[in-house]
Subunit: 246 residues, 8 copies
């Protein structure tokens, strides 16, 4: 019995006021009608469902996928090991695996281009590539044109300048960097579009598992930069996509 039915029953006298009041109080929140509250993003048309694979067994992931398949929506799973992919491949032959990104994709319907411009993914070094790939494939799967330029860290800044045209033509930039994490600052000083900074846990010694690059990025002098969690390529790709839809 949903909100409208309750009102109708009250109107028709099938339901007395006190029972109606009591029902309203225990009615699941989602039935009250705040559109965004009762309809979780991932169950809308066109948008993929997302599974965070870390710490889930192969069977659990397969189970979740099974339920999602019923709705016919596209599916994206992050932090998936190769072995898990091999396991799932037998069950869902249409599954695709991006090994570097550790991402699984099932395209049950054609991905609709919702991004209005180009998202550009940059990395400081080659070791940052797995995190960048997670961002890349997330953004792409969410319906964006994504371009990538890797290994353009600030310690060899001509590499960055060689790609100035691509940088200048992006609508959103994701800058992934470990070690000193200075890439977003330099890029942020060059462009007029939002830069999403992703610190990575790449590095050794006083890097302290990404703390160094995280702090660098938070303290950037350049305006227009914001930061996501260490190694959170998915978060950056998702946010970039959200901005690119605007």
């Amino acid at each position: 019995m949903d909100l409208k039915e309750i009102l109708i029953s009250v109107k028709q006298g099938h339901l007395d006021i006190d029972t109606a009041l009591s029902k309203l109080k225990t009615l699941p929140f989602e039935d009250i009608g705040y559109a965004k509250v009762d309809h979780h993003r991932s169950i809308r048309n066109g948008y993929p469902e997302v599974i965070y694979g870390e710490g889930k067994t192969d069977e659990q992931i397969a189970g979740i996928i099974e339920k999602m398949m019923e709705k016919g929506s596209n599916i994206l799973a992050t932090r998936i090991k190769k072995e898990t992919y091999d396991y799932l491949k037998n069950i869902y032959p249409s599954i695709q695996y991006e090994e570097l990104a550790r991402i699984i994709k099932i395209e049950n319907k054609k991905i609709e281009k919702v991004g209005k411009g180009k998202i550009l993914v940059l990395t400081g070094g080659t070791c940052d590539i797995p995190v960048a790939e997670e961002a890349y494939h997330t953004a792409e799967f969410l319906g964006n044109d994504v371009e990538k330029i890797y290994d353009v860290g600030v310690a060899g800044i001509h590499r960055l300048f060689n790609n100035m045209d691509k940088i200048m033509s992006a609508r959103v930039i994701i800058a992934v960097a470990g070690m000193e994490g200075a890439l977003p600052s330099v890029v942020g000083g060059l462009v007029d579009v939002p830069v999403i900074a992703v610190p990575t846990s790449v590095g050794y010694g006083a890097n302290f598992k990404g703390l160094s690059s995280l702090l660098t990025m938070l303290n950037s002098c350049a305006s227009g930069i914001s930061v996501v969690n260490i190694d959170n390529g998915f978060g950056a790709g998702y946010l970039a996509s959200m901005i690119n839809k605007l």
Copy 2:
């Protein structure tokens, strides 16, 4: 002698190739022609110039403003004490002061509305208001419709839900919070637009000058959230404006 003049001189034979080459190499970078590089954002039309007031003397700030006034652009200065405002007011009577935000504004020309939607600034508590005000006035001065709802922290979550309509109609949201810093997570789970999280140094004990709320925000489970530096209201307002222009 700028880039074009060099080329013309070469063409006309007034300049030999080697001298031209040498000139090109020593030519200030800004004359070479990468649009974004040689034209710093702040000197473009319509955009205000920004001064970071912390650690500058009254005289230094007055000096910088003087130079900026010559260009006729709008001027925004952050982290300005009341005494500094009083000092500057005597020199530039058109100056405006937002006391809570500690922001100075000089509007030499009418602010052009460049933002396409509404930016919403939320705070968890009343103590977060100064940082939120910095974000608010920054975004407004950069040409946006900005709305604010303060003191809607998660420990009294009905206050947040009372404002659901405003939250749902924003194009970009700035969520400012100290203490446990959970506001952006809850908001991020409700909306489909970018949420810029601003941790504040409000709190005591194990807050450790904002570290607690910073970590909370970086670790948010909600997608579409990114974080700026502790107490960095300006950065949030600037980024929100940049996104809202897209």
Copy 3:
């Protein structure tokens, strides 16, 4: 128009279904009827209203008190400086000040004893007393019998044992300690009732503003201990009261 009125109007035909639906959706959340949601604790009978004084001006606090006075409820304000009290005293002569606890109390109606047993507040040293007093007066104002034993730290453990009877007869214990913060562990090993541990920022050197005692308390081997924020006497007093009502 509240929830019941809407239902009645629907029943009586004064309100059509769609308008009712729309009203329900925009009705302030507190009107929907989740008892705890729409009725904030502090506006209930008997319970004092609480103001967190830190970072508020004298005028702001006076303003908040003014509104609260209208409801006739009791008022508790924490983190109040002596000067603020002097200022408020002129406006509200019935105001009382606990100087050590930095707490202001206004008793508009007699405090009802809601606590079923005795709450005991212990401190490790004399420097922890201000935090303990905040806990003491909070719990007392919330309707509890509260007893206090100060300076019974573990480095002179006979002092603690001299008070064994009082310790054994408490229903809830608040153990406040800085420095090494070991008091809750020893007490927790002796009693069978909940121990609320409050680390204080008392100490020097490697105390790091209470971090040392906070970590000690979190790592306690004794069962039945939980921890509130550093110097958070109010939080401990409030929680102790909540438990003592059960």
Copy 4:
């Protein structure tokens, strides 16, 4: 020769005063008679004995259980690996294993219901479940009605509101959360009963093995919340039980 015998011997003249004095001084502390000191909680009737399994060999645990079996009391062991359970099963066939909770239970006598109300265990995400299960089974084994609602984190807050009735009817709430750890704050703002917050080490990047959620919880704006150590489900279950007996 215990305390009473000494006194009797003195009275009967079999023991002179000085010898009696000397005996009293060297008498084991537990014989002096402070009820709570010489009788450790776990040896009382009805209460289970608890073993902390981490870092103990299978043989050691079996040895401890053997001694406990002699007393006929119920036995609870935490942090037990599956292999250890398999080993112990052969020796004590009546042993039960809660795999998610990693808890072993031996019920030598019927568990007596000592809790007066319901304890509710909540988690923010699915990854927090093992810690929550440790709390659940601990509280249940200690004689409480326990209910659990998992995966109701604040980033999808309608899930929490769908369970409002259960939340409102609990006498003590255990809120388990990793990542941003905001669940206890939201819950604490809704209810009037004690909330025990358990940070988990779930998360990545700037979670720093639970530090992020620990700090969030300590800094909660909601009153009535206290915190136990990271991943300390047992501690939360034990404390909840202690409160629920009051």
Copy 5:
């Protein structure tokens, strides 16, 4: 009625067994007779009473001294400001002040030499002297021959070697150092006696208020070194004295 009186009363039949048992259980712990428990160190003959002055008002300190004066014992107070000394001087003219050490001394009876050898206090730099002086005067007042050599840090190691004879003849060494804190390691490698390392909060930048020197000292490769809290000159002097009595 103390322990002996109870026994006598029992023997004489003035007290029945059960009443005696009950009295024993509630008797203050200090009367039971564990020498070290019921007689706190500071109330023994010859030993000075110690007051930790930090955070106490002038009046409080005067009050504590007053009580101590009655017992006629020597009095030592640490962390005493010059103004406090001036205040106390008027009340107790026999008071002495060591300004650098911020220590007050009252010698009600002649200090007895209890130390068997020489205690040597070393500092790395001149800025460490106040902490060293606190150690020096504490050890001296506790009845030891104390010698001091200041500014012999490892960055000019010949200064240390110039004092080799004194270093070799000490029975206990206190090594006080800020900045890199390496002095105890070098000294510990030269001598065969206990070295008490005192980190100081002297330094700037990455010293982090003494953390740097604290960690250095804890990690010393030399054997025979132990560490007290940052800036804890008193603790080092006290421990050195305790060892020197052996």
Copy 6:
């Protein structure tokens, strides 16, 4: 040619002044004659040689032992794995292994009792035993009477008091504790002898690999306590022995 020979040669005219000067300058430091400098502790009679086994291969350790055997001194090696012992046993059948302590001992001559009193090793819990055993066997091998009482942590303080006589009769106490690390504070408040506090990395959650207990111990209110590095049982045993010789 040592220092004396140079002087004799000069005296006899076999060596001219300048050559002698030059020789003196390049003479290995150990020949100059500062007793402590040129004679490293470990090569003296009666004292065992010590090897820190961590990070050394079996072959390296065997090689070091071989050299030491030639001098006929006793040998102690710490942090030795069982496999290493098995390997060494074949080469040096007289080798002994203390498995819990992970210590190897070779007794080439009878250990001389140099300690004047008893050293007592305490632990808070059973998990601290390996570190305590390292301290125990180190002190014993260095010629001391050592006694041990394990699992007497402050959360069940009667266990500690049951051993008061042993505690009171020790000349030096080593208190080993993980978790909250409060044992040294309580013990230090009871005795008049030096207490060496050893934090262990035992614990979980906010213990942060021993940081919690380290800070607790550094911040102890009790006098006469000093701290060695986390898990450094050897250092504690060595220092205790050094003090006990005095």
Copy 7:
């Protein structure tokens, strides 16, 4: 078409001014002519190419080497496992492996001595040797005379003084140390040449993976010391070489 060609074409009239301007703007940065920008260090004559091996697969490293071999330059790769060397040895038989340093070298042309003096590598302990070896072989391969003295830590300072002549004759010193990390301070106080301090992650307990030695070195009182990242032997060797060329 490079910069010169553009100018020539303009001069000859084959290219109009606007097209030339446009070409200049998109011309890769390296063609503009800032010597240092467009010519990366590693592609110059005589200098080896450097590969950072960590996190690269055997195939990736082989691929990079293949490209480098074509240029005929010398090749240095750091952080290379033994297995990787075995793999590469089959492909490039001229490859050399320094096992302790985990460095691979290919000498396609004779190394030219570019260093003007001697570089000296010191370590505090034997565990620091792998890091020191990385520095040693890096500096040697870059064309320097390098000498090494290991295990001369400050806890046995005579070992250091025994090598005073070598220390005094170095032009640049690399001091590698873990644990307390005091070696650079002592050495820096003795010499008049630059000292490059390398903290290592050697140690246990409160060493915190090198943080302790890092902070020690940063806080050194001696002048002329600077610090590289924890365990960064390569960085130290490279910088020493750069200085030694001056």
Copy 8:
């Protein structure tokens, strides 16, 4: 009686061997003859004496200067407040004050140019200037040509490139930066000379008093960079000078 005199006395028979041996052992270390040990840097001709002014009283500084004046050497004092300079000016009229650098200089003899090339001091922002000035004046006073370019941080990288010629012509570079601290990385990637990185405590929020820029610099990907302590301009200037003399 110095080393040579002892030898002569022995030769002449005025001193017997044993007395000579004893004298040698107690002879101040500096007389033994290790050139660098017995002659501290600062007492050599030409080199200025350096005073670290922090934490010294005006009188102490005046006293130290008085002694130094007697030797006629040049004097440099750092961390000197304006008031101290005013005080000293009256005593030593030849004293010079660099206000921004907070440095005092007394030039008793002409500064000799010992630097072989140019030292360049860069800053990221204007707030870093005081630290940079300390480096600048230190290096200049030590006999170097020093040039400075301020406010060329990476967030506006064209400013850096506009000064490429100066950057390319330096022999040693000091790069001073707060906030994200990325300047040394970018510069280090452009040049072939040593870069000394100086983190400053400039910034707010997650800068944590320079920790952010310190970590950034330690983690730099560029080779040839080393780091000094936060705000340690003097250390950078001194080291740069030491390198520039080579």
